[in-house]
């Protein structure tokens, strides 16, 4: 059995009257690419936000890297935040900084490295995600959607985290860029031995990248496990989410 890197236990979340999660539990293991799936508005992004300390559930517990994150002190929380990287849906690059400064920001804030070492690191990270050195001096407004995603990924990798969160990384990309991004994620995972948690509803990337997944529907987890296990669950949402869309895709292809 592989080491558990995130353990979600009995999570219940509501926004006012609106219940989002009703007693949800699942585990994520080290070294896998794990998907949070489900139709829009069924709480998968909320679950991600709860894992990265942006939102608190009403009840339940979440352990990340062996630490119960709902009872952390401010100092422990900062230590934990240094150990993960997050790529947001809209990339969320700081628009007043250029790409290089965006990547260097956490290194400058959290370490006392020399400027030349920081430069070497940012240049290497850019190379890693497939951006050219010319792009280092561009501002986010000058980048295409795919390049922004890559820059955001490079920023998330700046501190060499072992854990990476991606919120719908391919949703605003064209199919070619999306496939490229999927390949990039896969190769980085292999090379750097990362654990990656992805919120997505892109079937292409679900098939290609995910090792394990949970499917959220109606406040509950209706299926979890590998793609094969999930597909074998007889549930209308699973059918419409995977099969119908899948058939459509095949027809288009």
């Amino acid at each position: 059995m592989k080491e558990i890197i995130i353990r979600v236990k009995n999570i219940t979340t509501s926004f006012g009257e609106n219940l989002v999660h009703d007693d949800i539990s699942f585990d994520i293991h080290k070294g896998e690419i794990f998907g949070l799936l489900g139709p829009s508005g069924h709480g998968k992004s909320t679950m991600l936000r709860e894992m990265i300390l942006l939102q608190e559930p009403d009840r339940g517990s979440i352990e990340v890297l062996g630490r119960p994150i709902l009872t952390l002190s401010e100092k422990e929380a900062i230590e934990l935040r240094k150990q993960w990287g997050v790529v947001f849906q809209e990339s969320a690059l700081f628009s007043s900084l250029n790409v290089e400064e965006n990547i260097a920001l956490v290194l400058k804030e959290y370490t006392h490295m020399s400027a030349s070492l920081i430069r070497s690191i940012t240049a290497t990270k850019l190379e890693m995600v497939g951006l050219s050195q010319k792009d280092a001096y561009k501002y986010p407004s000058e980048l295409s959607g795919g390049m922004k995603k890559k820059a955001a990924l490079a920023r998330a990798l700046a501190m060499d985290p072992k854990l990476l969160f991606l919120d719908e990384p391919t949703s605003s990309l064209d199919p070619v860029s999306a496939a490229e991004f999927d390949d990039l994620i896969l190769s980085l995972k292999e090379l750097l031995n990362l654990s990656i948690i992805i919120v997505t509803h892109d079937l292409e990337s679900i098939h290609k990248t995910l090792d394990n997944m949970v499917v959220f529907t109606d406040k509950k987890v209706v299926a979890q496990g590998s793609l094969k296990e999930v597909l074998s669950v007889p549930h209308p949402i699973i059918e419409s989410f995977f099969l119908q869309k899948g058939i459509k895709n095949e027809q288009q292809g």
């Binding site: 240094k82 628009s95 290089e100 070492l117 290497t124 190379e127 060499d160």
Partner: protein, 380 residues
């Protein structure tokens, strides 16, 4: 303090990452991101002999990450620049793997892009910015005029609802703050001058002074400055955000010209109502002065109004009111223009809003000065 790993003392000193012994640089301990700054410092203090080749022993590196390997590359490179060739020895599997996968581009070690700003280049840049700013304003005014002509030709295309909303938002809702400011200024002026007036026994002339200064200059200026701060920024931020979220583009694709739908109604709304706001500010300014005159000089409101009737010349009032539409045009057009010129970044909203408020207030004061000269020459 020492670290024992698998029964062997691998690190003598907990805080030692790099040391030198027997012509060998010994790397040890955790080469992780958070320690790299210390490693850099320790490397700089190493007493390396002037040799042509060194060994680098990595066997005691317990753990390493990509950033650690980048530093390793960088140190080797630094040694090479001193014409020292380095041989890596006893590379642990993890470090070997990271060395293999970490591709470091040549540019990683070059100096960063230099910001070579001289006084001249800065001056040139500033001048060019002023030039492009004026050009942008002229083209904005041009487009606005075309839209205005179009609306004159096809009056039914005018957005009356947007005009009324503009009046509500930018004039009626601005009344409380404008009137309060104006009243306070009237009081302050009266207080300050009451003492001087008393000295000459010219108490009653405070009415003349107040009426002339408030109606001709103070009320229009105060109104324009408050409205510029309040609405100038609002025009820029609103239109700017609409541009970033592509709402302006959406309007264009539906055949709605943003100039006709947003800019023109807002500008006309302010041009129509600003003189009225100024008129109200006149009244409240004089009212404030009247209160202060009563308290400080003992001039009762009835005396004050009598004197007001005697000396009042409608010219003073019109001189102030005529400035209204011009100030309004400056405020609304500069505000909207900066909103239209927002670029695709959140940063740009802040810069443009600032530029818009500063620009409008400055231009309002310039315009006021021009009016003063014109009225002086005309003898009004």
């Amino acid at each position: 303090m020492s670290i024992v790993y698998k029964g062997v003392t691998v690190v003598q000193n907990k805080d030692e990452y790099i040391s030198f012994k027997d012509n060998t640089v010994i790397c040890s301990n955790l080469w992780l991101t958070q320690n790299l700054a210390d490693i850099e410092d320790q490397f700089d203090t190493l007493d390396l002999p002037p040799a042509h080749s060194l060994d680098m022993d990595l066997s005691s590196v317990l753990r390493c990450d990509v950033n650690g390997v980048i530093l390793l590359h960088k140190l080797i490179r630094q040694l090479k620049q001193r014409e020292v060739s380095v041989k890596l020895q006893n590379i642990p599997a993890e470090v070997r793997h990271l060395l293999d996968i970490t591709k470091i581009p040549d540019s990683a070690f070059s100096a960063g892009k230099k910001q070579n700003e001289t006084l001249f280049s800065e001056l040139g840049r500033a001048a060019y910015e002023i030039y492009t700013g004026i050009r942008a304003y002229l083209s904005f005014i041009g487009e606005l005029s075309l839209t205005f002509l179009y609306v004159l030709r096809y009056p039914s295309s005018f957005r009356i609802k947007e005009l009324l909303r503009g009046i509500q938002e930018h004039s009626i809702k601005a009344l409380p703050i404008v009137l309060l400011t104006s009243m306070l200024i009237g009081m302050v002026i009266a207080y300050q001058s009451a003492l001087q007036m008393k000295k000459y026994g010219a108490d009653i002339f405070i009415v003349d002074m107040l009426v002339i200064s408030i109606t001709r200059e103070l009320a229009p200026l105060i109104t324009a400055i408050v409205v510029a701060g309040r609405s100038g920024s609002a025009y820029t931020a609103q239109i700017g955000v609409m541009k970033i979220t592509e709402e302006l583009d959406a309007m264009r694709t539906m055949g709605f010209d943003p100039f006709a739908f947003l800019v023109l109604p807002n500008i006309l709304a302010l041009m129509i109502t600003l003189p009225m706001v100024i008129f109200m500010a006149d009244i409240f300014g004089i009212l404030g002065g009247m209160l202060a005159a009563d308290m400080e000089l003992g001039i009762s409101p009835i005396e004050f109004v009598h004197r007001l009737e005697e000396i009042f010349n409608a010219n003073h009032l019109f001189v102030g009111l005529i400035k209204g539409p011009f100030f309004a045009l400056i405020i609304a057009s500069i505000g909207c223009m900066h909103g239209m010129s927002v670029e695709n970044s959140t940063d740009s909203i802040g810069t443009k809003t600032k530029a818009s408020v500063v620009g409008t207030i400055f231009m309002v004061i310039i315009c006021d000065a021009i009016f003063s000269i014109v009225f002086l020459e005309l003898g009004i």
